[in-house]
Symmetry: C2
């Protein structure tokens, strides 16, 4: 072939090649609080901090869509949309309904917020998604088809499997992945792929996933095509009458960008995310230029461009016969450059994180009580809604993540407090109905029990009143627990409210003295442990009352500081040497291991020679990989032995205290730490870790949970899908520990359950795990929040010259680590149920008068590997019931197996009229979820996903199934 002929052939080939189809997805990313509170963002207040005014975004977008029926827009965060919707008049609502129905306005994600993927518990993710989806179904009759997680700082397996596939999303889009991963994916045309994230759920729960932001690790428009009103990018000037006509150069720029993007994925269709943080406040600017872009690029003809949405985009990708790469792990940790691991936020603002988790449990219980009591009043419903919305806001990826400004953090906490108060009013009324109590408002909740403050129990002995309480167990199994009650005197006892039988009790030292807050609020010096027994999903009634004799007290042992001492029960033996835990033995499996605990701190980098990156709210970067001991002296240790539990109390230097409790019969040990104000007078920010060094030979492998569901294997300096160039040997091996972390070897497994999300690892050094429980930093890490993570009691308002100054004492953090130790084969059957118990503690509601009769909503027992996850009133007709299989594939020889249960006969006291299986977010049927599944072609994998078990009520490992249960209540309270 001559050269000329070759050229001709080439040109023909080029011409024949199908053109690139560019989907323009106009969108705005509206943080549900970050630099400003959610309401400041909505109402445009405090614009000096950040210009953002969501009300105006929705106002102008709707007008722009009305103006031109070709235009489309994608909205995401229902927290904002619902605020706006409630303010609209009927004609605007009718217009918006038309826009939604025509597809011009599409909701993607559609949760209350765009939740974080590291810190939230899976139930909070499900709840906040359901909250948004319920609104969308009720108002518009729609259920979003795509996930839209553009901004979260890493992406979880649970997001892909549960919050995408199981919700009924056909695609999941996000912006931030590791910079090395990103570069490789662009190279290998893997910017889009099939993500099959849960080994337990398998290919059924896979989702088509795509990077956004021109595959640039972000979610904005291509460089140079930001036409937000606040941008300076070159607009399209197509009026030849005026100077600087630039149609040709702008079209050329665009075609180039489209070609590059198309080269990084598969198929002809690509998506451009035309929008960014709080953009479209003046939607007219964007749409005017997009209209012109579309007009002129299509006239040029080299690529084809049009308004689209994530839903339409997935439809287009579906129509292409493309074989996709497969992704099976998750996207943690996220790094946006060398030394820049976003692993600090797994721990940032631990008190907010803990408050959210604590509230989550209360919320679950509140929903249960309301559903069971039935016939809620509107104020009860509003109370629950208020809490639901506060929790929805709190799951945002700058809320629970701990990456918001201080005053915003306070706002999150305030919303939760108000939500809790509102919900408790409702619970009180419902409990009143449920327990035949005289008044509907007589139950109170001791919000400050964590600092030993509880007026009803503290009053016992001071007055002649007793304190009776309904103790709610939200789990689907009977349960025996040690509960803690603050008491003012030792002459108290606890009796069962019905039988009047005294229960076993033990008096221990309360922890209130460790903080000023407890003492200031009148916290009790003593805590009464009481051993209580509770039915499944229900309550028993107990009363604290004065007794003739003092309660049995834990006795302070006479020990010699520094010597080795042991505590033990039927199952475990713990050795303490030099004041700290040194060894642990599982008596049953006769496994023993060195287990030396130490409290350490990393020196938060302020930037150094290697990199200017500082440690901050987002990023964890120790200035060197070796941590310093918090205290180099001998910790002061006390040992208390009592009939119900032994406790070791330790003072590790002047600002860390720890209580280790081993209860009678317990298979685990509870470590409660109190980290008081972290000293930073030396100019060094500090990141506090609890470390346990063992002789387990885990070879750099550890396991961390994904939002409390699947356990994921982690390996030192390793990523499953690419060869990692590791730049931070500690921070780069940190992972989110939302609920659990373990290391193991052939003989033993050490599992730590946390009561809150923490950054942790078991991969850095063999046999060693560490969990970061608190951080106090002095420099901002330049990811936007604009203040060092230096949590104090107060902050000045954003007015005048003294804006946002932090002052007052530093944050005190208390938390729990539950340790399980034993043979690997039997570990899961112990720690999996423990995980549920730690998440959902029993909740006492203190009544004014006499005890109520106890009951359970459950008829017969659930199989041990199933759990009731949600029991809530959905609407007038339906109870929403979620039941989950709580064991991962292969975790336990028996309990990981599929299990069946007869839902129909599960609940007490109601005639079940029908049961309908729903998608995870409940607004569509399970059948529709299945129908939405797309048979993607996947490399090295069967083409068709196998549907999950959907026969009558069988649950595969870690499967969650959601039901609408239509009942006829046989009583005012459904179950009684």
């Amino acid at each position: 072939m001559t050269r000329a002929l070759a050229l001709c052939a080439y040109l023909l080939a080029v011409q024949a090649e199908p053109s690139i189809e560019v989907h323009i997805v106009a969108h705005t990313h509206d943080d549900v609080g970050w630099l400003k509170t959610v309401d400041e963002y909505y109402t445009g207040q405090n614009n000096s901090i950040q210009h953002a005014y969501v009300h105006m975004i929705l106002d102008t977008v709707v007008r722009c869509l009305e103006q031109n029926p070709n235009r489309t827009f994608t909205y995401v965060e229902l927290a904002f949309f619902v605020r706006w919707w409630r303010q609209q008049d009927d004609s605007t609502k009718a217009l918006v309904k038309r826009l939604v129905s025509s597809g011009q306005l599409e909701f993607s994600n559609g949760g209350w917020c765009m939740h974080d993927e590291a810190a939230p518990h899976y139930l909070d993710m499900i709840d906040q998604t359901t909250l948004g989806h319920k609104f969308l179904m009720e108002e518009f009759g729609i259920a979003p088809r795509t996930g839209w997680q553009l901004d979260p700082f890493g992406h979880s397996a649970t997001q892909a499997a549960l919050l995408s596939a199981e919700v009924g999303f056909q695609g999941l889009f996000f912006g931030r992945i590791d910079y090395q991963d990103l570069a490789l994916r662009k190279d290998k045309k893997e910017a889009e792929f099939i993500w099959r994230a849960s080994p337990s759920l398998g290919s059924d729960a896979q989702v088509f996933s795509g990077l956004t932001g021109e595959y640039g690790g972000n979610y904005g428009p291509p460089s140079g095509f930001d036409w937000d009103a606040f941008s300076s990018d070159e607009t399209i000037q197509d009026d030849p009458q005026l100077e600087d006509y630039n149609v040709k150069s702008r079209v050329d720029d665009f075609v180039k960008v489209a070609m590059v993007e198309a080269s990084q994925t598969r198929g002809r269709h690509i998506m451009m995310t035309m929008g960014s943080d709080f953009q479209y406040e003046d939607a007219f600017t964007w749409f005017y230029n997009l209209d012109k872009l579309i007009q002129h690029v299509n006239a040029d003809g080299r690529v084809h461009v049009f308004y689209s949405t994530p839903g339409r985009y997935v439809d287009a990708k579906k129509s292409e016969q493309v074989t996709w790469p497969l992704k099976e792990d998750d996207f943690f940790p996220y790094a946006d450059g060398p030394h820049q691991f976003w692993t600090g936020y797994f721990t940032s603002r631990p008190a907010l994180k803990r408050y959210i988790r604590d509230t989550s449990a209360l919320f679950q219980v509140a929903k249960q009580i309301s559903a069971i009591a039935g016939n809620p009043t509107s104020s009860e419903q509003q109370g629950l809604e208020k809490l639901a919305e506060a929790m929805g806001v709190a799951q945002h990826h700058d809320a629970v993540s701990g990456t918001a400004k201080q005053h915003v953090t306070f706002d999150y906490a305030e919303r939760l407090a108000k939500g809790r108060a509102a919900a408790v009013t409702g619970i009180s009324a419902a409990l009143g109905r449920l327990t035949d109590a005289r008044s509907s408002s007589e139950f109170s909740y001791c919000d400050l029990r964590n600092v030993s403050v509880c007026a009803p129990t503290e009053a016992v002995g001071k007055t002649n009143k007793r304190a009776c309480f309904a103790l709610w167990n939200g789990l689907g199994h009977e349960r025996e627990e040690l509960i803690e009650l603050p008491v003012s005197t030792d002459k108290v006892e606890v009796v069962n409210g019905m039988s009047n039988q005294a229960v076993e009790i033990q008096l221990v030292e309360s922890l209130q003295s460790l903080t000023n807050y407890g003492a200031q609020a009148g916290g009790a010096a003593h805590t009464l442990l009481a051993l209580v027994k509770l039915p499944a999903v229900g309550h028993a009634s107990y009363c604290l009352q004065t007794a003739g004799a003092p309660a049995p007290k834990a006795q302070l042992a006479n020990i010699s500081q520094g010597d080795c001492q042991a505590i033990e029960n039927e199952n475990l033996k713990l050795w303490f040497c030099a004041g700290m835990l040194a060894n642990i033995t599982d008596k049953l499996s006769k496994v023993s291991a060195r287990a030396e605990q130490s409290w350490m701190w990393y020196n938060a980098s302020l930037g150094n020679a290697e990199s200017s990156q500082a440690s901050g709210a987002y990023i964890f970067r120790p200035n060197r990989s070796q941590a310093f001991p918090v205290f180099t002296g001998l910790p002061f240790m006390r040992l208390f032995r009592g009939p119900l539990a032994d406790e070791v109390h330790q003072e590790v230097g002047s600002w860390i205290s720890q209580r280790i409790r081993l209860a009678r019969g317990s298979r685990h040990v509870e470590i409660t730490h109190t980290v008081r104000e972290i000293p930073v007078d030396d100019g060094w920010g500090k990141e506090i870790v609890s470390r346990i060094s063992t002789d387990l030979k885990n070879s750099g492998v550890c396991y961390t949970d994904s939002n409390g569901r699947e356990m994921l294997q982690r390996k030192r300096d390793y990523r499953p899908t690419w060869k990692l160039n590791q730049t931070e040997e500690v921070a780069g091996n940190y992972y989110p520990v939302t609920t659990s972390l373990f290391i193991r070897d052939e003989t033993a497994q050490l599992t730590v359950l946390t009561d809150v999300s923490e950054a942790g690892t078991g991969c850095v050094r063999d046999g060693e795990i560490e969990l970061m429980v608190h951080r106090r930093l002095l420099k901002d890490d330049a990811r936007g929040v604009g203040e060092p993570l230096n949590e104090t009691q107060y902050v000045t308002p954003y007015l005048g010259s003294d804006q946002g100054r932090h002052y007052g004492p530093g944050l005190v953090v208390r938390g729990q680590h539950w340790l399980h130790f034993g043979a690997p084969a039997t570990a899961a059957r112990n720690w999996r149920p423990l995980m549920d118990r730690l998440y959902l503690p029993v909740q006492p509601f203190f009544g004014q008068g006499s005890p109520s009769r106890s009951f359970s909503a459950m008829q017969g027992a659930l199989p041990p590997n199933l759990e009731v996850l949600t029991l809530a009133q959905w609407d007038d007709e339906h109870i929403l019931l979620r039941i989950g299989h709580q064991f991962g594939l292969g975790e336990d020889s028996e309990l990981s197996k599929p299990t069946s249960v007869n839902i129909k006969s599960l609940l007490v006291g109601a005639t079940v009229i029908s049961i309908e299986e729903r998608g995870l977010a409940a607004t569509i049927t399970r059948a529709e979820v299945e129908q939405r599944r797309i048979a993607w072609h996947v490399e090295q994998s069967p083409v068709h996903p196998t549907p999950l078990q959907s026969d009558d009520f069988t649950f595969g490992p870690l499967q969650i199934r959601t039901f609408f249960v239509k009942i006829k209540r046989t009583d005012m309270a459904m179950f009684i």
Copy 2:
């Protein structure tokens, strides 16, 4: 009366007091070029310089007005509006017409731009206003009722009298007045007043005037109530469901602001200008909050607030029985603080200013020729429109003022160049028809005659062609002038094209050698002066042709440098000593005076101990009051004597040259200066003045013109309406000299006419006048333009890291000062007509072929004190004719008297069907202007304005009358 009773009485009085009525005037102030070019502003380009996107302003405002019929908006600058209008589809146009017709959208000012009030010639102000008003009348059938000069840096008497009262404005609003004046006015409830600015026109031409911007010396919203999308002011949060509900505090804030504003003027009505520079790009944000403000403030009830417009506001003020203070002088100079006199911009960018003035003359002539020739083609009309629009843009208060960025200045110049070229094409065609020339495109214009470049005349002698030209006289009187023609050879002559009679000529040295530009462009070394005679409003034809003998040449006199030398003619004698003008004698009135000219420079302040204020584009601030001589040696002087004129050529140091010409029979002397690149290597910015020191005893009093009309008396360190605290003895006594400046005592008057606006004074030192002709500065003066006034040949584009860097040689400036000297009583009759001659020089259009016959459009002579100001085609039917009385009240014993003329018989060759008198901007009748007049009550003044003479064609002093003349053309060309 008891105390309690007194309190009751007080409270009743307070309650009974009428509430304050707050007019919300939503508006945007859109600079027609400043930091960006007019098109950059319109299309949103270069937003990194300044975020501004006028297209979006108009788009969103219109949608907001459509949304709520209560909303109103005021738009001002037609340059932008017309750009937008031309891009709109029919439905948007129909909507806008509805909005205008309902009064929701009001145009205030309605000129092409918001013109500067210091630098523009009054005809340019009239033209640009007429251009905008014509559009508004044609498209919407409306004529603005108010003036809106919010931003210009001082306010002229001509603005009040001609461009307000005579245009038919019922109110004039502006923001910037001297800070001392402002404080006093607020104190004395004089923030609004009646401005009767022209002694000649009297109370007929008064206008109700008001300060804007909460009377704060600006034009924005009250502090804290800026709800532009780019602002951070607190929005109104009135949703009790959300946090930070702030209705009470916002209402309180607003009521307070309204009370304060109301206390500073008279009557119950006040106006708030809700908008500012380029605001309302997202109009939704503004209107949404204004809606809420109105709702909640009115619910509160302490003040009443509503959407309004300047027109509605004037109506409301009219309805109040209030007596107003009277203002009779002008608002120059403007200072916004001590040492901060905005008197630099009177001279800033002198070459741009001169180019605009030069183009103004060409524009007047172009309109005349087109109107006279009649039946213009559409390309002729488009040419004129292009020039009209370029001139409209150029009058903007950051254009001709010299306060725009360098690249914007280049854009203004480019627009003028393109406009001139387009108009000349039209003139050529019209002249073709008018002169029976064979082709309609054969006339060319020598744009570069100022540097002695003119291909047709330079070719004479090189080829055997002669250069015939139609020489246009735009004035309404016959005229004899010395014209300058660049010639390549001395063997040339000039003959009358019809009679072939040679005219008197004289060869002089051209000035092209003084700049590189002339030489580079092939400028001729010789200039031929020819004495030509021209009819009124018409042309004569002359030809330059080769001659057998050399033309008479000015002879270099043999003088001894430094000695005193004289030149003289019939009227004047000038003495030069030590190389510079030293003495001047008026031979007729036998008055003589010392008149020592010197070139001086002020050291531009970079800020000093007294004030940090630097001298810059806006502000003139010499670092000390004493100027330095440009050259301390003996200027090199040459003296040429010739038959038509004597010339003195001087070199004042290395970078200033000067030519002083005294023509035979002339009553004035012409000084042409060339200021080449001002050296600034010493780090000192320099402001160059020509100073003439005389022994006139003017006692600190001088007179400067107001835009070329009324002469205003100025006094040293004095303002007519308040006791000035003077902080700058030079800059604070500088005034705009748009065309003329004089000082006088009982025996003599020295008048200087300028060919361009300049900063000048005759008040600083007795007997001394100075005019600033050039400035080169090294520091920005912090008033927004953001670059030092350091004009160079090039500037880098606003891209990348090298944005807006100035480079290349510094600006060269050439200009003329015409000096008249004589007895005060007869001064005006000389300098007033000279002012017209200097403004409107005769214009040669060079034809390709044979000479054309000459003609005049005037039938009979105009009275000597009247002048034809505008003669233009208005529409298919009407000729627009403006005639002005050119003498101020009392300036001349005879010529200042009212004069009559019969308009009907004024014009040649057309049957006048009707004559209708119009307002100054021509779109409404004179009767409507009169009808719009409001009989304001004025302190110490008759209540009713006396209408101007409106009988048949009588003109009072300085009166301008505007007519529609409906004619029947008797020939293809109207007048021939």
